[in-house]
């Protein structure tokens, strides 16, 4: 047993060091970028810190952005356990938000709690079915799930734009086509004592449930076998197709819930603001967290902070709005590169541990 302990430590240490290392490299690269844009990188980082985590107001700003990221990250992380690379979180958010808004509009007299519950269910079903299409294409027709889920995003956005400019259009939303408002009474409230809506709680709870599902249940165990080696899963007689469909559905439901929260907590109606790149940023969060649902929580907060600092960067350093997207992109590339480093330091660690 005395040997097993450092092994476990090493197992946790390697991803930690690699991720901290890649974040550092990303910061250096981004620093060079802002310096070339004429700003002092150290001041920029100071500003970013202030804007993201400096005050309780900025914390709230960060957390509001982190909440949907936690949910959309699950869209990529959960199928990742089955070895699938699904990038359809954006589509799940859009479909979830759209259908949540539509069902809310069909029940004008119901009490808010019923409306919200139905909205959440509708959003989750819509998002779940949406990603399940990608899973089904993969399993039954061997269509690459990455491509199909990406393309499904565009179809979802097109469907949203079509419906909010036609059937479900609120005539008063003149230059910004939207559905009717779901009604102030049906808006989800804030966590008492804060300005934060309940979405954050949903996000954290969803991540914890997802982690528990994958690591402590029979379903998660079977999924990890199928994701690790499909031939081994066949020998064990596991229903690989059903696992793929189920996990895509659960993943899509998380995205759909994010969409429902955007509608019920922020916008009050479904329109093209649903398509705010939370789905794509979620892919980044899942990658950085190496698909571990618990690691998604802090990573989502970090990325939420980066996105929250965008406004202040613009004002304080006259950097364009897209600057934070550059940082996001740099992190993404560096993290992708760092995937190649796993296992390279094994020797070093073994010597260090002995």
């Amino acid at each position: 047993m005395s040997v097993a302990v450092p092994q476990i430590l090493n197992k946790a240490l390697e991803p930690f060091l690699i991720i901290v290392g890649s974040l550092t490299v990303s910061m250096v690269l981004f620093g060079i970028f802002v310096a070339s844009a004429g700003a002092d990188p150290f001041e920029v980082y100071q500003t970013m810190y202030r804007a993201a985590f400096g005050t309780s107001f900025s914390w709230q700003n960060t957390l509001v952005r982190a909440a949907p990221l936690m949910l959309t990250a699950l869209c990529t992380a959960l199928p990742g356990y089955l070895g699938l690379i699904i990038i359809g979180g954006e589509g799940a958010v859009v479909m979830g938000g759209l259908f949540a808004a539509i069902v809310a509009l069909t029940m004008p007299t119901a009490p808010p709690i019923v409306v919200l519950t139905t909205m959440a269910l509708a959003g989750m079903v819509a998002g779940g079915v949406w990603l399940m299409i990608g899973g089904a294409l993969r399993h039954y027709r061997a269509v690459n799930e990455t491509i199909s889920s990406l393309l499904l995003n565009y179809i979802a956005i097109a469907l949203l734009n079509h419906l909010v400019t036609s059937t479900f259009r609120d005539p008063e939303s003149l230059n910004h086509p939207s559905t009717h408002h779901i009604g102030e009474a049906n808006m989800i409230g804030v966590i008492p004592g804060t300005d934060l809506h309940w979405g954050l709680v949903f996000g954290i709870v969803a991540c914890v449930i997802a982690w528990f599902l994958m690591h402590h249940t029979v379903f998660g165990f079977a999924s990890r076998i199928a994701g690790g080696n499909v031939r081994a899963a066949q020998v064990a007689g596991l229903p690989v197709g059903r696992l793929i469909l189920t996990i895509c559905c659960v993943a899509g439901a998380a995205g759909g819930l994010a969409g429902m929260l955007e509608v019920a907590a922020i916008h009050g109606r479904a329109n093209d603001t649903l398509n705010a790149n939370y789905g794509y940023a979620g892919i980044l969060v899942a990658f950085v967290a190496r698909n571990n649902p618990l690691a998604i929580i802090p990573v989502a907060v970090l990325l939420g902070g980066i996105r929250a600092s965008s406004g202040l960067l613009q004002r304080a350093h006259e950097l364009p709005d897209a600057t934070v997207l550059v940082m996001q992109g740099i992190i993404f590339l560096v993290i992708l590169f760092s995937e190649t480093l796993y296992g390279r330091f094994a020797k070093l660690q073994k010597q260090g541990a002995s």
Partner: protein, 507 residues
């Protein structure tokens, strides 16, 4: 070929550590000019490490490599080539969709920016003429049989003007006939003083038939070396495993009544590219019986195993298990207790990055006590069961939390056997169970298979090793061209007749 005798290679006092693990300790080894030398040892004895130190993959912590009485430092395999040392690996390194000519040309250390194919072909044709065996230069590698590919691998090393050839288990992918042919050619070339050969092997028969000298390693240490002519097979086996191998008799109990357990009727299966490779196969296996399927690989045996293990669909035909139609779903597998030990267990039935404990639970993670209430995995229960199996089946290292891919081949095989035999088994499907295993592990695994049979399990054993089939099975069938073409009881088996059917000569 180049002139003069091949160089004399010595490894003196080689020690190699990996962290706390001492893989090689003060090992001496001498490959004389023009010698056919065999390196024997169990899995994990350090054979590969020693060879990798010679090839420059690893740098020994202590000791030196001496080439023609001069100490040399070999930094990399490319460096080894400049000293005339080349290696043939266990797996093929040829590019399948290129021709033999293209494969030989691209292996050169330095390629001209523009390749003059005519000139290369001319040179290699001349080179081929000096070789004792030939392979068509224009043949596409993917169309060659395993034996031919192995020849190309060897020709590749010779074309690079290497004078010392190191071969890592060169015959593990070959049929016995192919193996004898390839080794015979190598033998002839050493006799002609064209090359020196060092082979790593488990097969004592090959050592006895072809090698001049043998060096034995055990647990990273030099045990001894000697001329093959002065040693017999049991002495070599003893040096390898450390004690006289007790040829434990495989006790067989004979069951009074013959109850059919597995019945295959008119099975037809297609391979990955849609060619029908099993063509109307009929087979019945009874309780307490081992049926060995002999045959040259590629006659549909792999696909036969895959349909029973659930990795492939039949195109037609029926499978009945205990008089009921069988589909390899988890529910039916568990109900009929039909378990499977396919070849290459790490690739076929394990998840490399999951732990040993998790891999051991693939059959029963969804039942008590591993699954509390049928849905909640109890990790402590998984570890407890794993400890028990690790001890019972002597799996090393004995840590349930290590990823299974870090175990050696023999230990992975043991782990899979432990998993498949841990519960009551009615039907056991086995393919090449001892592929690449050392003597001791092989013996253990065969004993376990016979023990299962004696408990009443029906066993289907598909193997490319005819000796293994003869040793284990009650009944032997020969598979050729997707059908069973011959059947005999093992007691009345005539190897010559079996051999004829394996190769399709049935006059």
């Amino acid at each position: 070929m180049t002139d003069g005798a091949p160089p004399d290679l010595q490894a003196l006092g080689i020690t190699k550590r990996f962290g706390p693990l001492v893989a090689l300790k003060d090992v001496n080894f001498h490959l004389r000019s023009g010698q056919f030398h065999a390196l024997l040892g169990e899995n994990g004895a350090g054979k590969s490490t020693l060879v990798k130190c010679i090839m420059g993959y690893y740098h020994p912590d202590e000791g030196k490599i001496v080439l023609d009485q001069q100490a040399v430092t070999i930094h990399s395999p490319r460096d080894a080539q400049t000293f005339g040392i080349g290696m043939v690996y266990q797996q093929f390194t040829l590019i399948p969709n290129m021709t033999v000519l293209e494969n030989l040309v691209i292996s050169k250390a330095k390629l001209d920016p523009v390749i003059n194919w005519q000139q290369e072909e001319h040179q290699l044709t001349q080179f081929m003429d000096t070789m004792p065996f030939k392979v068509s230069l224009s043949a596409r590698v993917s169309s060659l049989a395993a034996g031919e590919k192995q020849k190309v691998e060897i020709l590749k090393q010779l074309a690079l003007r290497n004078r010392i050839l190191i071969l890592d288990e060169p015959t593990s992918v070959l049929t016995p006939q192919e193996a004898d042919e390839v080794l015979g050619h190598l033998r002839a070339m050493t006799l002609a003083q064209q090359v020196s050969v060092l082979i790593i092997t488990h097969k004592l028969r090959e050592v006895a038939a072809f090698a001049d000298e043998v060096t034995v390693l055990r647990k990273g240490q030099f045990v001894g070396s000697g001329n093959v002519s002065e040693l017999n097979v049991s002495q070599m086996a003893e040096m390898m495993v450390g004690s006289e191998v007790t040829a434990r008799p495989k006790q067989r109990t004979v069951l009074s009544k013959k109850v059919p357990k597995l019945v295959l009727q008119d099975i037809r299966v297609k391979d990955d590219i849609g060619v029908e490779v099993v063509r109307g196969l009929h087979l019945t296996i009874h309780e307490g019986e081992i049926v060995g399927v002999a045959g040259v690989s590629g006659n549909g045996q792999r696909e036969l195993v895959e349909i029973l293990s659930g990795q492939r669909q039949t195109t037609s035909g029926t499978i009945h298990v205990q008089d009921q139609p069988f589909q390899p779903t988890r529910e039916q597998i568990m109900r009929h207790k039909i378990f499977c030990l396919p070849e290459e267990p790490l690739q076929n039935t394990c998840v490399g990055r999951m732990t040993v404990a998790e891999n051991l639970a693939f059959r029963n993670f969804d039942r008590e006590p591993h699954a509390v209430g049928g849905w909640l995995i109890s990790h402590p229960a998984l570890r407890r069961s794993a400890f028990e199996l690790i001890e019972r089946y002597n799996i090393k290292p004995p840590y349930p939390d290590t990823p299974i891919q870090s175990l050696s081949g023999g230990n992975i095989q043991r782990a899979v056997l432990a998993r498949e035999l841990s519960a009551e088994v009615e039907i056991l499907i086995i393919a090449n169970p001892c592929f690449g295993l050392d003597f001791l592990a092989m013996e253990e695994i065969r004993l376990q298979i016979v023990a299962a049979r004696n408990r009443g399990t029906a066993v289907l054993l598909v193997s490319e090793d005819l000796d293994e089939i003869m040793e284990l099975s009650d009944r032997t069938v020969v598979m050729f061209n997707g059908q069973l073409v011959y059947e005999t009881t093992s007691s009345g088996a005539d190897l010559a007749i079996i051999g004829r059917h394996m190769t399709g000569h049935t006059t």
